[in-house]
C-alpha cells in the first residue's frame, strides 16, 4: 500500500523540482508509515545519498506540514518492498536459507517451446537427459555457442523440467556476472559465509555465460569451491559459455579442466529451416496466424541470432494487433522497416552542400557564391531545402552557411523547391535521390 502522506509530499515536490529530478531521485523511493515514522526506502546507496544530500531537508519540511497527527519523523534507508504477489527477485538473497526457496526460472522457456533443428539437437538431447536424471548422467553439462542461440533457453528448460517432476527441488538459474556482483557485495558486507552457504545448498545450479569469470581471480576461486562442493554432493551443475571453455582467456586451468569432466556440447547457429520453424513456433505461442512467406521473410532477413528473430516477430505482431491488420508479407516488410534500415547518418550543412554539389556537378564554392545563374541557383535552393529538412539549424544559420544570405532567401528557396517538386518530376526525383543519399 502506498503512503497517503508520501503521495501528498510527492505532489508538492512535483511543482518544485524538475521533471528529471523527480523521476530520477524521488519516484524510485518507496514509503512505509510505521510507528509515527515515514520510512523511505531507496533502491541503492546512490539514490539514498543523492536524496539525503539534496532533498531530505525539504522532504522533512513537507512531512511536518502534511503529517498532522500521522507520522512526523522521516528516515531514509536502502531497501526494497516487494508485494507478496510479485515475481521473486532475480537472485535469492544470500543468507535466506530458512525462507521458502524461490526459483527464478522463466516459465516460457521449456523443452516444448524449444525448436529442435540440426544445429541444436545434440545439446537439446543432453539437456533433456540431465533434466530427467539430475545429478546422475552428465555432470557437469556444459553447452557452448555464440550469442542468442538458445543456451539460456535450454538452461531454463532443464530447470523447469526438474521442477515439474519435483516442485520442491532447489533449482537456481544464475548469470555468472550476477555471481560475481553478489560475491563482491557479500565481501563488502562481511556476509561471505552466508553467500557460500547459500550457493552450496542448491540442488541444481544453472549458471550462464561462464566466460564472465575470465580474469576475476577471486570469483573464480569462490566458484571453484562452490562447484566442487556441489559436484561432491552429487548436485547437478549445468553451465553455458560463449565459446569452447579451453579458448576462454583468463580462466584458470583447474576450472577449465573441471568444466570438461562431464559432457560438453556445442550449439550452432540455426539454419534457415530452423529459424523459420522458430518464428512459426513463437507465433503460435502468441496465438497469431503467420503466413509461411512472412516466416521465411523474417528467417531470411534476421540471420544473426534467435533473440533478434523473436524481437522482429514481436514487432510485427504488436503492429498488427494495434492496427487490426492481417499479417501479410507487405505488412511485415513495412513493420520491420525500422529494424532493417541503416542508422541515420549525422547530417551536417557541410555534408549537404558537398553531396548536392557532387550530384549537380558544380563546386561547393558555387553554392556560397553570389552567382545567380539557373545552373547554380537551383542546386543552392535544393541544398537549402534539404538543410531545413535534415538539420535543426535555424533559418538565419542556414542562410549564413550559404555565403551569408538572409533567412528570407532560405524561406523562399524552401517554398520554391516545394512548388517545383509538385510540378517538375525531374526536380522531385533529384530531391528524393539526394534525401535518400543523405539519410541512408
Amino acid at each position: 500500500m502506498t503512503s497517503a502522506l508520501w503521495n501528498s509530499c510527492v505532489h508538492q515536490l512535483e511543482s518544485e523540482l524538475s521533471e528529471q529530478q523527480l523521476n530520477t531521485w524521488i519516484r524510485p523511493l518507496h514509503a512505509i508509515e510505521q510507528d509515527g515514522e515515514l520510512i523511505l526506502l531507496a533502491p541503492n546507496r546512490f539514490v539514498r545519498d543523492s536524496v539525503q544530500s539534496q532533498f531530505l531537508e525539504r522532504i522533512d519540511e513537507l512531512v511536518q506540514t502534511n503529517s498532522r497527527s500521522q507520522a512526523s519523523r522521516v528516515s531514509l534507508e536502502i531497501g526494497s518492498h516487494e508485494p507478496a504477489a510479485a515475481a521473486p527477485s532475480s537472485t535469492p538473497s544470500p543468507g535466506q536459507d530458512t525462507k521458502p526457496f524461490h526459483h527464478n526460472l522463466n516459465p516460457y522457456f521449456t523443452f516444448e517451446t524449444f525448436v529442435e533443428g540440426k544445429s541444436n539437437q545434440l545439446p537439446r538431447a543432453a539437456a533433456l537427459q540431465v533434466a530427467n536424471n539430475p545429478g546422475r548422467t552428465y555432470n557437469p553439462l556444459l553447452i557452448y555457442g555464440g550469442v542468442g542461440l538458445g543456451k539460456t533457453h535450454l538452461l531454463h528448460a532443464i530447470g523447469n523440467q526438474i521442477l515439474e517432476d519435483n516442485p520442491s527441488a532447489k533449482v537456481t538459474y544464475l548469470h555468472s556476472e550476477r555471481f560475481v556482483a553478489d560475491m563482491i557485495k557479500a565481501l563488502q558486507h562481511n556476509t561471505i559465509s552466508e553467500f557460500k552457504r547459500h550457493y552450496r545448498s542448491i540442488e541444481t545450479l544453472l549458471i550462464d555465460d561462464i566466460q564472465f569469470f575470465a580474469r576475476k581471480e577471486r570469483s573464480q576461486e569462490e566458484f571453484f569451491h562452490t562447484f566442487n562442493s556441489l559436484l561432491e554432493g552429487q548436485r547437478q551443475v549445468i553451465l553455458t559459455c560463449d565459446r569452447y571453455p579451453k579458448d576462454v582467456e583468463g580462466l584458470e586451468e583447474r576450472l577449465r579442466s573441471r568444466f570438461s569432466w562431464g559432457l560438453t556440447q556445442a550449439i550452432e547457429p540455426p539454419e534457415l529451416e530452423t529459424r523459420v520453424a522458430i518464428v512459426q513456433n513463437k507465433a503460435e505461442l502468441l496465438h497469431v496466424k503467420l503466413p509461411s512467406d512472412v516466416a521465411f521473410f523474417i528467417g531470411r532477413r534476421i540471420r544473426s541470432n534467435i533473440r533478434e528473430l523473436e524481437g522482429a516477430l514481436r514487432r510485427v505482431v504488436a503492429n498488427a494487433q494495434f492496427t487490426g491488420s492481417a499479417i501479410t508479407l507487405e505488412f511485415a516488410k513495412d513493420a520491420l522497416q525500422d529494424l532493417l534500415v541503416s542508422q541515420d547518418k549525422m547530417v551536417t550543412l557541410d555534408n549537404i552542400q558537398k553531396t548536392v554539389a557532387e550530384y549537380c556537378r558544380i563546386r561547393v564554392s558555387d553554392l556560397h557564391s553570389p552567382r545567380r545563374t539557373r545552373s547554380v541557383t537551383r542546386p543552392r535552393q535544393i541544398a537549402m531545402a534539404l538543410s531545413k529538412e535534415l538539420t535543426n539549424h535555424s533559418l538565419p544559420e542556414i542562410g549564413s552557411a550559404f555565403g551569408g544570405r538572409d533567412h528570407t532567401t532560405v524561406l523562399h528557396a524552401c517554398r520554391r523547391i516545394s512548388e517545383l517538386r509538385e510540378s517538375d518530376a525531374q526536380i522531385n526525383n533529384d530531391y528524393i535521390n539526394l534525401l535518400r543519399n543523405l539519410s541512408s
Binding site: E19, N23, E308, G311, R314, A318
Partner: protein, 238 residues
C-alpha cells in the same frame, strides 16, 4: 524610448508549475502504436516488457521515457528515469539493485557504452529485469545492431525486446508540440507566433520549449498577449 521587457522590474520568479512530459503532449503521429504499447505496461504481465527506442536527438526519446515514468508512477508502480548522459562519469554501481523497482527507464545509453564497467552493469540490470519480468525502456541514437557495444551479449539482449524507431519531427509537428506545451501551461500561442519562432530561432524542440517557458513568464508579468512583436521584443538579443 520604450524600455525592454527584459529590463522590467516586474520580472517574475522562475518558479512555476512545470507541465509534465506526458503521453498527451508527445507529438508524433507515426508512433501511436508505441505510445499505446507503453501505456499498457501498467497492466501487461506476459512478455514482452523490454523496449528499445532509437532515433536522432530531438525525436522525443527523453520525453517518452519520462512520460512512461509519470504515467506508471500514478498507477502505484515504482519507476526510475536515468539520464545516462549525466552519469557517464559516475560509478556504474548506480544501477545496483534497481531490479527491485517495477520500471527502469534509461535514456541515451550510448553515452556509457564502450566502458567495460558500465556495459557489465547494464548487462546485469537487463538480465535481472528480464528474469523478474519487470519493464525496461532504454533509448539510444541508433538501433541495437549499430551500437558501439563491446559486450555482444548485451547487444543481443537489447535487440531481443521491442525495437522502435522514433522519427524526427517535421516543422508542422514541432508547431503542434509547441502549442500543446503552451496549452499545458494555460497559454495560447497563435500559429503565426509558432511560424515566427521556427523561422527565426533554433528549431530544436527543447530550445523552443524553453522559449515558450520564457515567453510565458514575461507575458504573465507584463500582462501582455503573446504576439509576434512581443516575442521579438522579449527575445531581442538572444
Amino acid at each position: 524610448m520604450n524600455s525592454s521587457p527584459l529590463d522590467s522590474a516586474q520580472r517574475p520568479l522562475d518558479i512555476v508549475l512545470r507541465p509534465h512530459a506526458t503521453f498527451d503532449t508527445f507529438v508524433s503521429p507515426e508512433d501511436h502504436e508505441l505510445v499505446h504499447s507503453l501505456k499498457g505496461l501498467a497492466r501487461a504481465t506476459g512478455e514482452p516488457r523490454h523496449y528499445f527506442l532509437w532515433g536522432r536527438t530531438q525525436s522525443g526519446k527523453s520525453h517518452l521515457l519520462q512520460a512512461v515514468c509519470n504515467h506508471l508512477a500514478r498507477t502505484g508502480l515504482r519507476t526510475v528515469f536515468l539520464p545516462m548522459r549525466e552519469f557517464a562519469a559516475a560509478d556504474p554501481n548506480l544501477l545496483n539493485d534497481l531490479q527491485h523497482l517495477d520500471v527502469v527507464c534509461m535514456d541515451d545509453i550510448d553515452c556509457v557504452l564502450g566502458q567495460g564497467g558500465w556495459e557489465r552493469a547494464l548487462f546485469r540490470i537487463v538480465n535481472d529485469m528480464w528474469l523478474g519480468n519487470k519493464a525496461l525502456v532504454v533509448s539510444a541514437s541508433c538501433k541495437p545492431g549499430d551500437l558501439d557495444i563491446g559486450l555482444a551479449d548485451l547487444a543481443s539482449r537489447l535487440a531481443g525486446g521491442l525495437v522502435y524507431r522514433l522519427s524526427s519531427l517535421t516543422d508542422e509537428q514541432k508547431k503542434l508540440a509547441i502549442r500543446l506545451h503552451a496549452q499545458a501551461r494555460g497559454l495560447e500561442v497563435s500559429p503565426e507566433v509558432c511560424s515566427y519562432l521556427l523561422r527565426r530561432y533554433p528549431r530544436e524542440l527543447k530550445k523552443l520549449v524553453e522559449i515558450i517557458d520564457k515567453l510565458d513568464n514575461y507575458s504573465l508579468a507584463l500582462q501582455r498577449k503573446i504576439t509576434v512583436p512581443f516575442v521579438r521584443s522579449v527575445l531581442a538579443g538572444t
